[in-house]
Subunit: 335 residues, 2 copies
């Protein structure tokens, strides 16, 4: 089978590709090819596998060609992130709405030409939720909570969920939208997402670097490890339509923790000196965005698919440390 | 002040224009000009008023010019209807999504150039609601019911609600989305909306013509008279942002009645011979669409604005009969 991963050079996309290569199969079928479409070049370690093909450039520029190419499955992860979309409104519309529409229309074009509908998993986000004066947000959002997005990014994600549901209803694709919780710990540099600090306050101290936390320790948030997130995307892909249940987006599992609990977990795993590298300096722009996010989430439909969150945030930190094997710089703070 | 009505040659748009001309003011300001943008020519009776200017053509073709024109207020009513969108997927996307986006971007362009944000009322629809396997629909939908649209038309309306909420959050407009209930009794010919028969089964018998009801008498639906609908749009325009409450779409009031109750009201107002002109012949396509619509609606936020539904369906029929004064053909069945 042939798979397309948009955003395939990103953190989640790369890990998904690596996991799929290791499995060798998806939904019981042999994986022959995985195309990674991304603005950035794909990771060298992935390109070393002959099953990987990389295409570099904005997603929008690829979609015309996709009308003439057969894919069995698509993981649509490409997205401008929340911070970027707040700063550049047009960039957000183009990267998140126009690109998704062009991708869906390419898949529809193939069905109109007689092809079987492709299966598509869309990475939506917990950022669809927000408080509106007319619709108070519950402390813990669920699969059936009314999304009233308070960022452009959240709006884009929710609009794409609805587009995908309707294209699916019409038989143009077999689409499933899964709402990712905040993926922590991301490696590398901050990425412009307003949620970036949730990784930074773990990653930087472990590397021996001071990290600024732009919100207070009382802030609570639903999070998930990279590996659980990737496993969730694969499980949503492999679910039967009946098991997925309807065409409405589904929350992926989360562990709901406060920044203070994250700090306690950091100290538990890496010691008090590492914890002490986190400084609290409020950033009104970031804090304002985060204040509109839910403090926790529930994922009943995902649980029915057998998906579970990490048992503790310390386990998430331990996963990150294991991922850093062979990169002593990344764990310099623990030395 | 200068007002734009998209869909201004349509039934609701024309009635809104006539009502505004009669009032002479909106939100306490003198109305100097009302521009009616529509694919169809504006009604002659409206064009006779010097305050009316008509522009004929697809909305999308007008939007570039709208970047260079100041409007204080916009009523965005233009839309391809549900039946059309199910038959022609591209037409629906173009007429409902692309046109709305172009309109919003024209208004945003003006704000970026230093203008005050225009106030915009968007006519969304009760068609945003539908049952999804993952999210059962309540018998009576409310302002906070999670919309899971089961038609492309309903999806388009809901997506536009979210676009308008986000453009409003960013200060590009002062947008308010109001969900219209099924407007009954529409005059003239059936219009391609799946809900068209709700008017036909009253209008045709009153004109002495047999009408086919494509669904059973037990089917219940939230309806509103044309005048209450227009009054609702004006009230939503005139509400303060605080009174409107948030940026989430609001249901307009409805009277929730079954087809059987509509028939009883028809007999009450026009007699048994008129009622006997309605024949029940199930149409699977229409019945299938209608089966996914809510059987009734509640409008708590609209009620807080002082808006009320008609007291009885017989009153809605009487309003239609009064509107037909001077058109004896339209009431030939009662002769």
């Amino acid at each position: 089978m042939k798979i397309l991963i948009t955003g395939g050079a990103g953190f989640v996309g790369s890990r998904l590709a690596r996991t799929l290569l290791q499995r060798g199969t998806l939904d019981g079928r042999q994986i022959e090819k995985i195309v990674l479409a991304d603005q950035a070049p794909a990771r060298a370690e992935l390109l070393a596998d002959p099953r990987i093909e990389a295409r570099v450039g904005p997603l929008l520029s690829h979609c015309e060609a996709l009308r003439n190419e057969a894919f069995d499955g698509v993981f649509h992860l490409a997205s401008a992130v929340s911070g970027e979309c707040e700063i550049d409104f047009d960039l957000g519309l183009r990267s998140n709405l126009d690109s998704t529409r062009a991708l869906l229309d390419a898949l529809r074009h193939r069905v109109n030409a007689g092809a079987k509908p492709a299966r598509l998993v869309f990475s939506s986000s917990v950022a669809v939720y927000g408080p509106d004066a007319a619709v108070p947000m519950p402390a813990i959002v669920t699969d059936t909570t009314l999304p009233t997005p308070q960022t452009s990014y959240g709006m884009h994600k929710h609009v794409c969920e609805h587009l995908i549901a309707d294209y699916t209803r019409k038989g143009y694709l077999d689409g499933r939208s899964a709402r990712l919780m905040t993926v922590t710990v991301r490696p590398g540099k901050p990425n412009g997402a307003a949620s970036s600090f949730f990784s930074g306050i773990i990653r930087e101290p472990l590397a021996g670097v001071v990290s600024i936390c732009p919100v207070g320790p009382e802030v609570s948030h639903p999070m998930s490890s990279p590996q659980r997130t990737v496993e969730g995307l694969i499980a949503v892909y492999e679910a039967s339509r009946e098991a997925f249940g309807g065409r409405t987006a589904m929350n992926l599992p989360s562990i709901n923790v406060t920044v203070a609990q994250m700090m306690d977990a950091l100290e538990e795993v890496a010691g008090p000196k590492v914890r002490a590298l986190v400084r609290f300096e409020r950033d009104e722009r970031i804090a304002g965005i985060v204040a509109n996010w839910p403090t926790g989430a529930r994922a009943d439909r995902a649980a029915a698919l057998g998906l579970k969150p990490e048992a503790s945030f310390a386990d998430i930190i331990r996963q990150y440390i294991a991922d850093c094997a062979g990169q002593p710089q990344a764990l310099k703070g623990m030395a």
